[in-house]
């Protein structure tokens, strides 16, 4: 198992660099990285028992691999594979595939490690790879969006580093477990870094612009897996230390409501999806113990949605009302929207039921509200007009589009086996009621309502300034 783990960790980086020597094989090599991760994740599910690995000595790198990490690694593998299929026939050069693989490898590293410094390195490599992917088109806008992302995440990581050394000062070790007994300012600084990287609550408001202004495959990668690299350590810490658990749950509820509130009033498809990501991350954090399964279903569905929306004729929902979609695309869009709303038969249902069962009493009302909000948001997509396929339409689609869809939506169907116990009458009725309420609210109120929310908080200076406010907030929470 030791050797297997090390090979799995090193493989994407190794292949990511030698891919330049064999540019004809770039797609196949990139795909092989995703397959290795998928096989490794399956291995983790088979073994079940957590597996610890400490490289070098007491101060060395420590890795923890358990089924929770397995869910995240599987998500990473499936999303990366889908994105590579999607780009298969496009004119992307080897550089793109190399960056995708390096991103894949560093996200894997973030899911495996359990000490603050390995996590820091993994998160910073992720920032660099994501910047290069965002700036791939080389337009002014893409460079600015990438630069803004790199700035925000690097400043957050500087705070995180100070937190990490405070933990070291208290325990002479960088392990996650050292957070227990560490001073509150250490918790505040580390959490600030992770919350910003994960795109959570007000510190995550960089996310909508970044995710919506990137190309469809890059948005899919970012919403599907990259933000989860920031969320996963929070989940891990919450499970490890019960005194951290309430802080993580409060942020989960807060971000679920904030994201869905913005998403309901948004008229741009990609921004709607990005805000929905902010809200869905809240569901992962609200019930950390079952967060893995939710992350898997959300990763699959959100990357599918971003790939679909990238192929629609317009980004404005109002315009889409007058431009019927092609029926096959519409069907894919509806399947994905149903899954994220929590309709039975798709695994989004199982994930939602499981999360709702593991909530604390004080979270229940807020999270049910967020679930209704999600149904309202996706009603906007489900009730778009559609028409039969004409002769000329077929050629317009990216050829790899359907392969990616089969992988992602098939994964959504297949993931039902994780929690098939969810299928009983009581569990099935509740999501149906939630969705009905959401759709009623959509038709009665939100379909006609046009409110433009101000975007002041998304300006660069405010993003950085907001970090100091979040820092004070988390400090108080840690002190309490």
């Amino acid at each position: 198992m030791n050797t297997l783990t090390l090979i799995w960790m090193a493989f994407p980086f190794l292949v990511g660099f030698i891919i330049y020597l064999l540019p004809q094989l770039d797609r196949y090599l990139a795909l092989s990285g995703a397959f290795v991760s998928a096989a490794y994740a399956v291995q983790l599910f088979v073994e079940q028992s957590p597996y610890n690995l400490r490289l070098l000595d007491h101060f060395g790198v420590s890795l923890v691999l358990d089924p929770l990490a397995g869910f995240f690694i599987l998500t990473n593998a499936l999303v990366t594979a889908a994105v590579i299929f999607y780009c298969w026939r496009s004119d992307k050069i080897t550089f793109f595939y190399a960056q995708t693989l390096i991103l894949h490898g560093s996200v894997n590293a973030a899911f495996a490690c359990s000490d603050f410094i390995s996590l820091y390195v993994a998160l910073e490599v992720i920032s660099i790879a994501v910047f290069l992917l965002i700036a791939y088109p080389r337009t002014d806008r893409s460079i600015w969006v990438g630069l803004r992302y790199l700035f925000v995440s690097n400043v957050a990581m500087l705070f995180y580093l100070v937190g990490a050394v405070l933990v070291y000062k208290a325990h002479h070790s960088f392990d996650f477990a050292g957070l227990r007994g560490a001073p509150p300012e250490a918790i505040a600084l580390i959490f600030l870094g992770l919350l910003v990287k994960g795109g959570i609550f007000v510190s995550g408001l960089w996310l909508p612009l970044t995710h919506s202004e990137s190309e469809a495959p890059v948005s899919a990668l970012m919403s599907g897996i990259v933000v989860k690299a920031g969320v996963f350590p929070l989940v891990r810490c919450a499970l490890l230390l019960e005194e951290i658990d309430p802080i993580v749950r409060i942020f989960g509820v807060g971000t679920a409501l904030l994201g869905v509130f913005y998403a309901i009033f948004e008229q741009d498809t990609k921004r709607t999806l990005a805000f929905s990501t902010v809200s869905q991350l809240g569901f992962i954090l609200a019930a950390p113990i079952v967060g893995g399964f939710y992350a898997l279903t959300h990763g699959l569905v959100k990357s599918a949605l971003f790939l679909i929306v990238g192929n629609l004729p317009s980004r404005d929902l109002k315009e889409l009302q007058h431009q019927p979609l092609q029926t096959p695309i519409w069907i894919a869009l509806v399947i994905a929207s149903f899954s994220i709303s929590g309709l039975p038969l798709l695994s989004g249902f199982g994930a939602k039921v499981l999360t709702m069962k593991n909530l604390l009493p004080w979270q229940a009302i807020a999270m049910n509200l967020a679930a209704i909000g999600t149904a309202i948001v996706y009603a906007k997509f489900i009730f778009l007009p559609h028409r039969q396929l004409g002769e000329t339409d077929i050629s317009k689609l990216q050829p790899g589009f359907w392969t990616a869809m089969v992988l992602l939506l098939g994964g959504l169907l297949g993931a039902n086996i994780v929690y098939y116990e969810a299928y009983n009458l009581e569990n099935i009725v509740k999501p149906l009621v939630t969705i009905t309420l959401g759709w009623l609210a959509y038709f009665l109120i939100f379909q006609r309502l046009i409110v433009k929310l101000p975007r002041v908080l998304e300006q660069f200076e405010h993003l950085i300034g907001m970090m100091s406010l979040s820092l004070i907030l988390i400090f108080w929470m840690a002190l309490a």
Binding site: E124, V125, A135, I143, L161, K169
Partner: protein
């Protein structure tokens, strides 16, 4: 005392990122901030002693803790590469925005 200086450096950098208008100045402010972080690691490492921990016959005295130093070396390299990347981005942007004022660039490039 030294800790207060380190914190002051950190906040100088942080407020520079917010209040400086020029993108290059923002990047330099970020560098100041990361200098503060590096200094803090060195300070933590030197809590128990100042000598470099090298195995030899002569016992010199209290040794500095090598772990934070090793860790911050990694962070320095990462920070430096990120800055290089950012400066390349800024160079590309300066072709169309010669003043490099971040408000202007943001206004032009936000939908």
């Amino acid at each position: 005392m030294l800790e207060a200086f380190v914190l002051a450096t950190l906040f100088c950098g942080f407020f520079g990122i917010i209040f400086k208008k020029n993108l290059v100045m923002k990047i330099i402010s970020m560098d100041v901030m990361s200098t503060g972080v590096i200094a803090y690691y060195v300070l933590v490492a030197a809590r128990e002693g100042l000598f470099t921990p090298i195995v030899s016959d002569v016992q010199k005295g209290a040794y500095a803790d090598p772990v934070p130093q090793a860790v911050i070396l990694t962070a320095i390299v990462i920070g430096f590469s990120i800055q290089a990347l950012m400066l390349v981005g800024v160079m590309k942007l300066s072709r169309d925005n010669p003043t490099l004022e971040s408000n202007e660039i943001e206004k032009d490039n936000t939908p």
